[in-house]
């Protein structure tokens, strides 16, 4: 009897995938603004055109330079301002130590992920898309350059990276991002609304081809008095490689019940 029961449950288990459509193949419609056959899902015959794009080979390390990033801070308003003031008071009361509501193994999302200075980036060009691999948290950003438009904001599932579309203006990649999860920080301790829009103009520095500049504009009419601009610099290592980042395998900085980072 026992064996029969086991056999029966095994049979159920084996049958389950079909019943639940596990492994089922989806058939997504063309992205907004495109016809079937135009999306990045149809790369064949379009690889040759990539050679006209600028040379962003190698890996790129975010760099501080006095007066670059950090010059000024976003001007918050309303509840966002009040919450940031409360956060600052809390940090001050906590001996300058920053508290976290999420694990340190949880990535910052946009726009913070483009401003990591310990972990490099790489930019992969393929037909209809630019892929940014980030060593930090092994994150990946996709910027669709196939001409698609954003879906309406209310149809976008909010995510860490948001929905990014881009196009080339000469040798500058212009990226527009919306749909960023509003539980993430704009900067440390600064929130934003679901209406956040991030514009990036990414190009090589005319003064130094081994420097890539990202001119970012953060716009959020609900959280900001005015759009906030900052420029992030990246320096090139031609033959460098991203290193694996499996945070849970070396998670010595867990968060305690008070939001303090533990040092183990």
């Amino acid at each position: 009897m026992k064996r029969l029961a086991l056999t029966a449950s095994l049979a159920l288990l084996l049958a389950a995938p079909a019943a639940a459509q596990l492994g089922g193949v989806t058939a997504s419609p063309p992205p907004d603004g495109l016809q079937e056959g135009q999306s990045a899902g149809y790369p064949k015959g379009r690889y040759g055109a990539l050679d006209a794009l600028p040379d962003w080979g190698g890996i790129w390390f975010g760099q501080f330079r006095a007066g670059d990033a950090g010059a000024g801070t976003p001007k918050l308003k309303g509840d966002f301002k009040a919450r940031h003031e409360a956060y600052r008071a809390d940090v001050k009361a906590n001996d300058g130590v920053v508290k976290r509501s999420k694990s340190n193994c949880s990535p910052p999302g946009m726009p913070g992920i483009m401003q990591t200075f310990q972990y490099p980036f790489e930019f992969i060009f393929s037909p209809g898309r630019v892929t940014i691999n980030q060593e930090a948290w092994m994150q990946t950003r996709t910027i669709w350059t196939d001409g698609r438009t954003h879906p309406p904001l209310e149809e976008i599932d909010p995510t860490f990276m948001g929905h990014s579309i881009g196009h080339w203006e000469g040798d500058t990649l212009v990226v527009d991002t919306i749909g960023v999860n509003d539980t993430l920080d704009l900067q440390r301790g600064m929130g934003h609304s679901p209406a956040l829009r991030i514009t990036e103009r990414i190009h090589l520095d005319p003064a130094d081809p081994n420097v890539l500049l990202n001119e970012m504009v953060l716009d959020d009419p609900e959280a900001l008095e005015e759009p906030f601009k900052l420029t992030v610099r990246y320096g090139r290592d031609r033959n460098g490689m991203l290193i694996e980042f499996q945070c849970s395998e070396n998670d010595r900085n867990q968060i305690d019940e008070h939001g303090n980072t533990i040092f183990d």
């Binding site: 390390f61 760099q63 501080f64 330079r65 990033a69 950090g70 801070t73 600052r88 940090v91 001996d95 300058g96 130590v97 920053v98 976290r100 340190n104 193994c105 910052p108 913070g112 992920i113 401003q115 990591t116 200075f117 310990q118 972990y119 490099p120 060593e135 930090a136 948290w137 900067q187 440390r188 301790g189 900052l230 992030v232 320096g235 290592d237 460098g240 991203l242 290193i243 694996e244 980042f245 499996q246 945070c247 395998e249 070396n250 010595r252 900085n253 980072t261 040092f263 183990d264």
Partner: protein, 123 residues
């Protein structure tokens, strides 16, 4: 690149509210203090998000186990580090920024091995 790393750390110190997103904030370390640590390597972990050195430090006949956090392996590579730079049992001297809360931990600044090999900022 070594210079760049130092700038990163300096910026983390000077502008904790600025735009840098590291794996975690450096505010838990007292970046204004540097202290030496002399002891034996228990473990050298070469892995993201941070490399770590665990070191046994003899203090008044007892042994204290310290954990020293470093930056990412990719940053450390630029400073001359390798996975094989330290081995368990190596006698080393470290310079660190200690934890503010007084626990036996800190942030790596520089290392000197028994054979005179040095890395980091000893200035």
């Amino acid at each position: 690149m070594k210079h760049a790393l130092r700038l990163v750390l300096a910026a983390a110190l000077l502008a904790p509210a600025a735009t840098a997103f590291a794996h975690h904030s450096y505010a838990m370390f007292d970046m204004s203090k540097s202290v030496p640590l002399e002891g034996t390597v228990v473990k050298f972990k070469w892995q993201n998000p941070h490399a770590f050195i665990e070191i046994d430090v003899p203090v008044k006949g007892q042994t204290e186990r310290w954990a020293i956090e470093m930056t990412s392996p990719n940053n450390l590579t630029n400073e001359g580090w390798k996975r094989t730079t330290l081995k368990t049992g190596d006698k080393i001297t470290l310079k660190i920024h200690p934890l503010r809360n007084g626990s036996k931990g800190g942030s790596y600044v520089a290392v000197r091995k028994a054979d005179g090999f040095m890395l980091g900022d000893w200035k």
